[in-house]
């Protein structure tokens, strides 16, 4: 009896050891994976963080760090500036200064003007693209005929076309309408871009028809169903699309290079590439200011963004 008991005891112990072994291996694998993820996280975060920390360094410090990169810089400090041969990447400034921000905001109104140009170009596009697209999406989702299917397919193809293709027709029309080099040349093609129609249609197709039938029985007309049933149900989709459209146009370079060559009207995204060779300190500050709106959107709307991407991928819906 006693022997037998100790036998099961040994078995149990061996079992325990085995489980511990497996757990240890699992733990090891898990910490390896965490390490890899941490490495990637570092790689992904560093450029953004560095841009920010560098914007807090004085012009003199920057030129002593990166002198060779931006060789034709004029450091904001007068007198001797030490231009380093080697480049040292610094994470934390010797002395935190907001001078660059003050300079970019007050002393050189040019940056502020370009920032404002970006805002004035992008915001109307986001608002009106969503408005036009919401109507169209409801049309595509509610009335499905052969013709609608063909048109929708055409929209998808248009959506996927690179700028090399779409800019030529856009240029032609802007030329005909005499709006080249005015903001309308950016606004109008942007407002009618089919991208948000595609995503919103996918969302609206998922609205249960029972909801719409119920509203109909209550005597609502289509416009009322659209405004009071469909739109509220798509609220999260509207946020997602707004974020995606905003970042797309906030980042635009190709369109203004061709359709809006007037320097005074160009957005900061284009102007920043010219600043780069100028005053580095200012450039870092302005680059940071330029990231703020999109990063704020990301901070508050990450889940909407993720959902929007999944829908754009056609993986949901």
């Amino acid at each position: 009896m006693k022997k037998n008991l100790s036998g099961t005891d040994a078995l149990r112990r061996r079992d325990l050891m085995r489980r511990r072994g497996r757990e240890a291996r699992l733990l090891l694998a898990r910490s390896m994976l965490t390490l890899i993820a941490g490495f990637f996280a570092l790689v992904f975060l560093l450029p953004t963080v560095l841009t920010f920390t560098n914007s807090l360094m004085s012009g003199t410090e920057l030129s002593s760090n990166y002198g060779m990169v931006f060789s034709n810089i004029t450091a904001s400090g007068s007198g001797k500036t030490f231009i380093a041969q080697d480049i040292t990447l610094k994470f934390i400034p010797d002395m935190v200064t907001f001078q660059q921000y003050l300079d970019s905001l007050f002393k050189t109104p040019e940056y502020l003007l370009k920032f404002w140009n970006s805002v004035i170009l992008v915001v109307p596009i986001v608002v009106f693209q969503l408005l036009v697209a919401a109507f169209a999406a409801y049309g595509f989702a509610r009335w499905r005929g052969k013709l609608q299917a063909i048109i929708f397919f055409l929209y998808v193809i248009l959506m996927l076309m690179p700028y090399q293709v779409t800019l030529v027709p856009n240029y032609l029309v802007s030329d005909w309408l005499n709006i080249l080099d005015t903001r309308w040349a950016i606004w109008l093609p942007g407002i009618f871009s089919p991208f948000s129609v595609y995503i919103l249609t996918k969302y609206m197709r998922r609205i249960p028809s029972a909801y719409i039938e119920a509203a109909k029985l209550d005597g609502a007309n289509e416009l009322q169903i659209f405004a009071r049933v469909a739109l509220p149900l798509c609220q999260s989709a509207l946020y997602s699309v707004a974020i995606l459209v905003f970042i797309d146009y906030w980042n635009m370079v190709e369109q203004p290079l061709i359709l809006l060559t007037e320097p005074d009207l160009q957005p900061l995204s284009v102007f920043l590439s010219q600043v780069n060779t100028g005053d580095v300190g200012l450039a870092f500050a302005v680059a940071t200011i330029y990231m703020v709106p999109t990063l704020l959107m990301f901070l508050y709307g990450e889940d909407y963004l993720v959902e929007g991407i999944a829908y754009a991928g056609g993986i949901k819906g």
Partner: protein
Amino acid sequence: MKPKNKQIHKKKSLTGWLFLSPSLAGVGLFFIVPFLVVIYYAMVDNPVQHNFVWFKNFASVLKNTAFQDAARNTAAFSVVAVPLAVLLALGLALLLEAKIPFRSHFRTFFLSPMMVPTASIVLIWQVLFHQNGVINQFTEAFGVQAIDWLKSDYNQLVILTLFLWKNLGYNMILFMAALGNIPKELIEVSMLDGAGSWRQFWRIKLHYISPALLFVTILSLINSFKVFREAYLLAGDYPYESLYMLQNFMNNTFRSLDYQKLSSAAILMSIVMVVIIGALFIAENRFGKDVEE
């Protein structure tokens, strides 16, 4: 709006068209109609006389050495960038599927580059890849000769890192959504059957994410055609030759306003795009059905 009459079918669909009309008018005016004109321009000899020359303009664009260079550079970039963008993103998605701590934070970090405007980040890239820059200091420590990255044949690598940095997060989200769609029971059943996680991955997951795999591939391909933005912001209008992309070609052609050249080049590119997109749809249909069964 007038009250809707249920009996009259025509009126019903008319309401539908009314909803579509603002978008249709805009898309028609800014994309479809001018595109038809672009086709016309591509086939006439000059914008004044309009003599039809059919495919002569296409032939001369295809023979144009600048176009050939741009097409070759763009293709060379895509061939490397697309597989990397797909595989690394899939790796990241699988990494976040594993039971590691801080998963949601990692997702945030991986996705954040997408929300940083390219123009804001090129400064740091210049610091990293300068001749005396950080990357060279690192590689020199291993005895590798310093390279002036942006002004050498390696410059596509600079753009590649920027491309991957910005696009991996987006692709990763697409894969995560696809992985999340796999029914949990299916994985549990296979676990009971004793399938190791490696076999489980190949048998079940790959089968389920194949539509996403395809979509991400096409999307990355399209995005790789757009890499001009990064190249322009880093290297300007006249970059070192291997960075001369198709969009550079278009920009320079816009400057001389050669409508015939512009139109034929745009149409050639749109044909390539339509072929690629068509392949996507056919493949997605086939694979998509496979999964549902």
